[in-house]
C-alpha cells in the first residue's frame, strides 16, 4: 500500500460524495415528474413515447406496476433472444458471425434483461454489431431504468401519506429515467470516452502487422456508446471479452476514473432522492453512510491484500514489493485495480479492469462478500436503494422492538406482511447461490469446465452463482461457463435474483403505501443518524456473514489459510 494509492482512492470517494447531492436533486426532479433543466429540450421525446405507446399514465398499485414490469421484461427478453438467434440474417454483421447457440442466447438474454451482463460468450467472436446495439446496449438502458422505477416505487411507498396504495406508473418511470437521465448522460460520457481514444465505428475487424512483424486481427465496433451506459447503468457487459481491461474500452487512468465515478453516480444519487422523498435528507445520508462504511472496509481489505506480493509468482524482472500484479493492467496499478474491483462488485456493475481470478484469496473473498451483502453497497441502479431499504426494514424491526414499540420506518409500521415479504426477498440469495453452487460442486456438469482444483475451484463456482444472483455479472473466470448446463442454471439464477426479489419489493411498496404514517417523536427509533447507519451495517454484515460463512470457509477463507501456509492452487 502506498500513500499515493490511498490518495487516489480517497480522491475518487470524495468525488462520489460531491456528486451525490446535485445528481440526487436532478434524479428526484426527473423521477417525480417535476420541471427540470431538460424538461424543455427533451420533453417532446417523453411525450412522443407516451403517444406512440398509447401509455395509460394513471398511477398503478403494486400489482399493476409489477405486471407492467414483468410483461415488459418478458417481451424484451424474447426479442433479445430472437436477435441473437437470427443475427446471421440481420444487418450490421460485417464479420458474418453465425447464430448464437440456444443456451448461450438464453443466458445472454436473461443476463441483459436482469441488468446482470454476465457474459458467457466472448463479445468480439460471437455478437454482431446489431446484436450488441439493439439486443444488448438497448437492455443496458431499459434494465437500468426499470431498476430505478422499482426503487422509486418502494421509496414512494415508504414516504407517501398514502391511502390508495398507489406507487407510481411503471411506464412513466421507465421513460423518464431513460429519456432525461440515461440517454443524455451516456451521450456526454461517450463523447468524452471517444476523445480519450475509445473507438466508435461499425467497420469490419482490421488486420494489422505488429512491430514484431506478426499479424493480428483488431476487433472494431461501436464501443464508446456502449461503454458509457455500461458503467452508468451498472450493467458491466463489456464490448470485448477483456472488458474494461481492453485499451479500446478503457484506454487510460482518466477514463478509468470516469468509469468508476459513473458506476457509483446513480446509486449514490438515489440515496439522496430517498432523503428528499422522505422530506428529511438525513434519512438519505444515513443510508449513504452505511454504504460508504462497507465500501471503505471492502476497498481497504482488497487493496491491502493485493499490495502483498504473490508468494507463488515471483516473476523475474518484476520488482519485489510491487504487489500482486498478476492479471492487472500496469496502466491502472494495484490501487486503481483494487478500487475498481471493489466498486464493480459493490455496485452490481460487473465491469472489470483486472482479472478477479488472480486476486489474492483475501481480495477475492472481499469481492465475493461485497456481492453477497446483497448488492447494497451503493448497489445496482435502483437495485441498491431498494435492497438497502429492505435491509433497513429488517434492522428497524429488530431494533424497534428493542426500544419498546411496534417497529416503524419513516412512520410506517413494519408488520407481519412486510416481514413475510422481506424474508422472501432475503431467502432468494442463499437459495439461488448456495443451492446451485452446492449442486455444481458435486455434479459432473459443474466440474467438467472448472479451471482450478481445491478451494480456488470452489471459489470460482461460488463466484459465478453469486455474481449471477446479485445481478453483478463480473466473472472470476477460470470457470468455463459457456456450457449448456452453466448457461441454463446461471440464466435461471439471474432471473431469480432480479424478479423474485423485485416482486416482494413491489409488494412491500404497495403494502406500505396504504399505511398511514405515524408522526415521529422522541420515542420513535431515529433512522436518520449515525447510530442507525452503524446498526444497518451490523445487520447487513451479520446476515451476510452468517448465511455465507460456511461456504466461504471452504472457498477463499481456507485458501487464505493455505496460502499463508505456502500452498496455492
Amino acid at each position: 500500500m502506498t500513500w499515493n494509492g490511498w490518495l487516489q482512492i480517497l480522491f475518487t470517494g470524495a468525488l462520489v460524495l460531491a456528486m451525490t447531492r446535485p445528481l440526487g436533486a436532478f434524479l428526484h426532479q426527473v423521477l417525480e415528474g417535476r420541471r427540470h433543466v431538460l424538461s424543455r429540450p427533451l420533453g417532446w421525446l417523453e411525450r412522443l413515447v407516451y403517444r406512440q405507446g398509447r401509455v395509460d399514465r394513471r398511477e398503478q398499485d403494486w400489482r399493476g406496476y409489477a405486471g407492467a414490469l414483468l410483461v415488459f421484461s418478458a417481451v424484451t427478453l424474447v426479442v433479445t433472444f430472437a436477435i441473437q438467434r437470427l443475427q446471421h440474417v440481420l444487418p450490421f454483421n460485417p464479420q458474418h458471425l453465425g447464430p448464437v447457440g440456444a443456451a448461450s442466447a438464453f443466458n445472454t438474454a436473461a443476463s441483459f434483461t436482469t441488468n446482470t451482463n454476465w457474459q458467457g460468450y466472448a463479445g468480439e467472436a460471437t455478437m454482431s454489431y446489431l446484436t450488441q446495439m439493439a439486443g444488448l446496449a438497448w437492455h443496458n438502458f431499459i434494465s437500468a431504468a426499470a431498476g430505478l422505477g422499482v426503487a422509486m416505487a418502494l421509496a414512494r411507498g415508504l414516504t407517501r401519506d398514502g391511502r390508495d396504495g398507489r406507487i407510481g406508473n411503471f411506464w412513466e418511470d421507465l421513460t423518464r429515467a431513460t429519456v432525461y437521465v440515461l440517454l443524455p448522460l451516456s451521450l456526454v460520457v461517450a463523447l468524452v470516452f471517444v476523445s480519450q481514444g475509445v473507438i466508435q465505428n461499425l467497420a469490419p475487424y482490421r488486420d494489422v502487422t505488429t512491430l514484431e512483424g506478426a499479424r493480428q486481427v483488431l476487433p472494431m465496433g461501436p464501443v464508446a456508446s456502449q461503454e458509457a451506459i455500461k458503467q452508468l447503468g451498472t450493467n458491466g457487459g463489456g464490448f470485448f471479452n477483456a472488458n474494461a481491461a481492453h485499451p479500446f474500452e478503457n484506454p487510460n487512468p482518466f477514463t478509468n476514473l470516469l468509469s468508476m465515478l459513473m458506476i457509483f453516480a446513480i446509486p449514490a444519487g438515489m440515496t439522496h432522492v430517498f432523503g428528499r422523498l422522505a422530506g428529511d435528507r438525513r434519512q438519505g445520508w444515513a443510508l449513504f453512510a452505511a454504504m460508504a462504511i462497507l465500501f471503505a472496509a471492502g476497498v481497504a481489505v482488497t487493496y491491502r491484500a493485493e499490495s502483498i506480493d504473490n508468494p507463488a509468482a515471483s516473476v523475474p524482472g518484476v520488482a519485489a514489493g510491487a504487489g500482486n500484479l498478476e492479471g492487472k493492467e500496469v496502466r491502472f496499478g494495484i490501487a486503481n485495480s483494487a478500487l475498481y474491483a471493489t466498486m464493480t462488485t459493490d455496485a452490481s456493475c460487473g465491469a472489470v479492469n483486472a482479472m478477479h481470478d488472480s486476486f489474492q484469496p483475501l481480495g477475492g473473498l472481499a469481492l465475493l462478500f461485497n456481492m453477497q451483502l446483497g448488492e447494497v453497497v451503493f448497489g445496482g441502479v435502483g437495485a441498491g436503494l431498494y435492497g438497502i431499504l429492505v435491509m433497513a426494514l429488517l434492522s428497524v424491526f429488530i431494533a424497534g422492538l428493542m426500544v419498546g414499540r411496534t417497529p416503524e420506518y419513516l412512520g410506517k409500521k413494519v408488520e407481519t406482511r412486510e416481514m413475510k415479504l422481506a424474508m422472501l426477498y432475503v431467502l432468494v440469495f442463499p437459495l439461488s447461490i448456495l443451492a446451485f453452487a452446492a449442486w455444481a460442486a458435486v455434479s459432473p456438469h459443474g466440474l467438467v469446465t472448472l479451471g482450478n482444483a481445491g478451494p480456488h475451484g470452489l471459489s470460482e463456482i461460488l463466484y459465478a452463482y453469486t455474481s449471477a444472483a446479485a445481478n453483478n455479472g463480473s466473472a472470476f473466470a477460470g470457470l468455463g461457463a459457456n456450457t449448456g448446463w452453466y448457461n441454463v442454471t446461471l440464466g435461471l439464477v439471474m432471473l431469480a435474483g432480479r424478479f423474485l426479489m423485485m416482486l416482494p419489493v413491489l409488494a412491500i411498496a404497495g403494502s406500505l403505501a396504504a399505511k398511514k404514517p405515524v408522526p415521529p417523536g422522541p420515542g420513535t427509533l431515529p433512522t436518520g443518524g449515525a447510530l442507525f447507519a452503524l446498526l444497518l451495517v451490523g445487520i447487513l454484515v451479520i446476515v451476510g456473514a452468517l448465511t455465507f460463512f460456511p461456504a466461504l470457509g471452504l472457498g477463499p477463507v481456507v485458501e487464505q489459510c493455505l496460502a499463508q501456509a505456502g500452498k496455492v492452487f
Binding site: 422492538l401 426500544v403 419498546g404 460442486a441 475451484g457 470452489l458 417523536g521 447510530l531 471452504l554 481456507v558
Partner: protein, 687 residues
C-alpha cells in the same frame, strides 16, 4: 389473587417448578411443537440424531464418531427443546394456579332467580342474560350484572384482592356487580348481563390460564423473521454437505444438525411464548386484567395518554392552602372565622380549612354544645355555609354569594378582597370568601392538590415520546394552572364525553395510539374508541365492556405502569432476538474450524477459542446453546429492565448489552464448557 406482586422469585417455588418440568416433557408432542417453527426444527433434528446414535450403537462397523459424542449431542439437543418448553410451562404455571383458585369461587353457586315476581333457586350456570336475581347479605353474586334495585356493600376481594367492601347501588356509575363477589349487607336485585362462560370471571380464568392465548401481531411478525432465518440456516447447513464433499470432507449427520441448531435462533424461539405470557402475568400482578394480548402490545405503542384530572392527577378534592385577609384584618382572625364556619362542614374542603387553621395558627377545633351554636349547612341556593355563634353570624362561600349576603346586611365587599379573589381564580384556585356579619374578612384559597411525584413521571413519559393530556370539567383558566403544575403536555377543559371522543378520534387521525381510563357509562364510547382502554373495576358494566383492560384496583394512575409493561414486553423480545443472532458469530468460530480441520488442518487458525478437540468444540457449542435458554429464563419472565429513556438512548444501551454482549458471551461460555467437558472426558478415560 389476594397476594400482591411477590417479585419474580415467586416463580421458583417447588410445586410450580415441578409442574413446569413435567409440562416441559409433555409439550414435546410434535402437534404442539409445530406451532413454534424454530423449536420444531430442533425437535426434528433431535429425532434424526437419536436415530443416528441408535444406528451407531446397534449397527456393526465403526461409527464415524465416538458414542460419547453422538450421545452427548443427542442428549443436549433434547435438553434444548425441553428447556424451551420448561420456560413456557413455568410462565404458564402461575396463571394456572390463579385460575384454579378462581374456579373454586364459581363452582356450586346457587342463584335466586326472580320469575314473574316469584323467586326460585337455580344453579348459577342456568342463568341467562336478562334474568333477574336477588342477592342478600352473605350470598355470592351468581354472575356479572347490573344492580337494578337497592344498595348493598359488597366484598370484591375474591376478584380484586382488596379487602375493604365497596358500595354497589342501582343507577349511577357504581351499579356493576361481578360474579363471584359476596354481598355483605342489605339486599339487591341484579339483572344478569352475561351468558355462561362469558362472564368476567370466566374471561379472567381463560386469560390467566392462557387457554385463549393467541399470537399477537408483533409476535407473529417476529415469528416470520425467526422462521425466515431458520430457513436461511437450513439452506446454509444442507448445502454445506455437498460443498464439503467437494472438498473431500464427509460431514456426519449429528455434526450438521448440531451446527444447524446452534445457528437458528433457538434462544428467542424457545423463550418467545414465555416472554409473552410473562408480560401478561406482570400486568395481572399489577391487578390489571388485559382482555387480549393485543392490548398489552398496543400499550407499548401508545403515543397519547388521556388522564382524568380528578383522582388521577389531583387528589380527589380541593384543599385550603392559604388565608388571604382583607387589608384591615389579621390573618389569624380570618383563620379563626373560617374555622368556625367550617366546623360543621364535613366535606373534605371544609375539613381542610380547619386543618390549615390549626397548622398555621395553632387554632384547635373547639367543642361547642348545640346550644351555643347554630350551624347553617350549605345549600345550592345560598352557596354558603356557616354558623351563628355568640351572636356572630359567620359565613363562607362563593365570592359573589358572600358579596350579595354582605350587601343585604348593609356592608360592602372591599376592593382588595375582590381583587385577591380574582387573583386566586386566575391562578387556577377557588376563592372562598369569609364574612363576619357585614364585614368581609378575606378569602381562603382552595386549590386542587397535584399528587406527589407526578411532574417527574410526566417528564419521563415525555422523554419516552408519550404525550399526556389532562381531561377536566374545569374552566380553561383553572385547567391551565393545574396542567402547568402537574406538568402535563396539554389539557381539555370543560370536557364533555363527546369532546373526549372527538379528541381521541383527532389523535388517531394523526396516526397516534391513544390510551385512557374510564369508569362511567358516559366514558364507554371513548373507551371503545381508544386503543388502550382501561376500565375501572368499580365502574359500570358498560365501561367494563368497552375497555380492553380492567383495573381491579380502580386506580387511574396505573395507566403509566401498563404502558411500561407493554414496552417492556416488546423490548424483551427485541433484546433476546438480538442476543440470539449475535451469539451465532462465536458459534461459527467454534464449530466451523472443528468441521473443516479434517480436510484442511490450516483452518485451525480460525479456532480462536483454542478449543481442545473438534468433537468437544461441537459439543460445547450445543451445550452452551441449551444452557443459555435456561440462563435467560429469569430475564424472559421478569422482562429486561425498563428505563424511561428516549428511543436513541435505549437503542444504544440495548445494542451494547445484548448486541455486543451477545457476541462476546458465547466465546467465554463455550470455552468454559469445553474445559469442563475435557476434564470430564479425561476423568472417564475417553480423551
Amino acid at each position: 389473587m389476594s397476594e400482591k406482586p411477590g417479585g419474580p422469585t415467586s416463580a421458583w417455588n417447588g410445586p410450580l417448578l415441578r409442574g413446569a418440568v413435567r409440562d416441559g416433557f409433555r409439550k414435546l408432542d410434535p402437534r404442539v411443537m409445530v406451532r413454534n417453527p424454530v423449536m420444531f426444527v430442533v425437535e426434528v433434528g433431535c429425532v434424526l440424531t437419536t436415530l443416528a446414535w441408535l444406528r451407531d450403537a446397534l449397527g456393526s462397523g465403526t461409527p464415524a464418531q465416538p458414542g460419547w459424542f453422538t450421545g452427548g449431542v443427542t442428549l443436549w439437543l433434547w435438553f434444548t427443546v425441553v428447556f424451551a418448553n420448561f420456560a413456557e410451562a413455568l410462565a404458564e404455571g402461575r396463571g394456572k394456579a390463579q385460575a384454579a383458585a378462581m374456579r373454586g369461587i364459581r363452582e356450586g353457586a346457587v342463584a335466586r332467580r326472580l320469575l314473574g315476581g316469584r323467586e326460585e333457586r337455580v344453579p348459577a350456570e342456568a342463568l341467562r342474560r336478562g334474568d333477574t336475581v336477588v342477592v342478600e347479605a352473605g350470598e355470592l353474586v351468581p354472575r356479572d350484572g347490573e344492580v337494578v334495585e337497592g344498595i348493598a356493600s359488597v366484598d370484591e376481594s375474591a376478584i380484586t384482592g382488596e379487602s375493604a367492601p365497596v358500595i354497589r347501588e342501582s343507577g349511577g356509575d357504581r351499579s356493576a356487580v361481578t360474579g363471584g363477589t359476596r354481598v355483605l349487607s342489605d339486599r339487591i336485585v341484579v339483572r344478569i348481563v352475561s351468558d355462561p362462560g362469558e362472564s368476567f370471571l370466566d374471561r379472567m380464568i381463560a386469560l390467566v390460564e392462557g387457554a385463549r392465548r393467541q399470537k399477537t401481531p408483533n409476535e407473529i411478525a417476529l415469528h416470520v423473521l425467526l422462521t425466515g432465518m431458520t430457513i436461511i440456516f437450513l439452506i446454509a447447513c444442507v448445502t454445506l454437505v455437498p460443498l464439503a464433499s467437494y472438498s473431500g470432507l464427509r460431514l456426519s449427520l449429528p455434526v450438521v444438525v448440531a451446527l444447524l441448531v446452534c445457528l437458528i435462533p433457538t434462544t428467542i424461539g424457545g423463550l418467545m411464548s414465555a416472554v409473552g405470557i410473562a408480560g401478561m402475568d406482570r400486568l395481572i400482578r399489577h391487578n390489571v386484567i388485559p382482555l387480549s394480548g393485543r392490548a398489552v402490545e398496543a400499550a407499548g405503542d401508545v403515543d397519547t395518554i388521556l388522564l382524568d384530572k380528578t383522582g388521577t392527577i389531583t387528589l380527589g378534592n380541593r384543599m385550603a392552602t392559604e388565608f388571604l385577609p382583607a387589608s384591615s384584618v389579621g390573618a389569624a382572625e380570618l383563620a379563626e372565622a373560617a374555622q368556625l364556619a367550617s366546623l360543621a362542614d364535613e366535606t373534605p374542603e371544609g375539613r381542610s380549612i380547619a386543618v390549615l387553621a390549626k397548622d398555621q395558627f395553632g387554632l384547635r377545633s373547639r367543642e361547642f354544645t348545640s346550644a351555643d351554636v347554630a350551624f347553617i349547612p350549605f345549600t345550592a341556593a345560598t352557596r354558603m355555609s356557616g354558623c351563628a355563634v355568640g351572636g356572630r353570624r359567620i359565613r363562607k362561600g362563593a365570592t359573589d354569594a358572600v358579596a350579595a349576603w354582605v350587601r343585604s346586611l348593609g356592608g360592602e365587599m372591599p376592593a382588595d378582597v375582590a381583587q385577591a379573589a380574582a387573583e386566586v381564580a386566575r391562578a387556577g384556585g377557588t376563592p372562598l370568601a369569609v364574612a363576619d356579619d357585614a364585614r368581609v374578612l378575606g378569602v381562603v384559597r382552595l386549590k386542587d392538590v397535584v399528587k406527589g411525584g407526578l411532574p417527574e413521571r410526566f417528564a419521563q413519559l415525555r422523554a419516552m415520546g408519550l404525550r399526556t393530556i389532562m381531561i377536566t370539567g374545569d374552566n380553561p383558566l383553572t385547567a391551565a394552572a393545574i396542567a402547568a403544575e402537574a406538568g402535563v403536555d396539554d389539557f381539555l377543559a370543560e370536557a364533555s364525553p363527546e369532546m373526549k371522543l372527538a379528541l381521541i378520534r383527532a389523535e388517531q387521525a394523526k396516526g397516534k395510539l391513544v390510551a385512557m381510563t374510564g369508569d362511567g357509562t358516559n366514558d364507554a364510547p371513548a373507551l371503545a374508541q381508544a386503543d388502550v382502554a382501561i376500565a375501572m373495576n368499580s365502574g359500570t358494566q358498560a365501561a367494563r365492556e368497552a375497555g380492553n383492560m380492567v383495573d381491579l384496583d380502580s386506580n387511574p394512575t396505573k395507566l403509566l405502569e401498563v404502558v411500561a409493561v407493554g414496552k417492556q414486553l416488546l423490548m424483551t423480545r427485541g433484546c433476546l432476538t438480538t442476543f440470539s443472532i449475535a451469539n451465532d458469530v462465536a458459534k461459527y468460530f467454534a464449530i466451523l474450524p472443528a468441521l473443516f480441520v479434517a480436510a484442511y488442518p490450516e483452518f485451525g487458525a480460525l479456532n480462536l477459542m483454542r478449543l481442545a478437540s473438534p468433537l468437544s468444540a461441537v459439543l460445547s457449542a450445543v451445550v452452551f446453546n441449551a444452557l443459555v435458554i435456561i440462563a435467560l429464563v429469569p430475564l424472559a419472565l421478569r422482562g429486561v429492565r425498563y428505563r424511561p429513556l428516549g428511543a436513541a438512548a435505549l437503542l444504544r444501551r440495548s445494542l451494547l448489552v445484548y448486541g455486543v454482549g451477545g457476541v462476546i458471551a458465547p466465546f467465554v461460555g463455550i470455552k468454559l464448557i469445553d474445559m469442563v467437558i475435557n476434564v470430564a472426558l479425561a476423568a472417564a478415560g475417553l480423551a
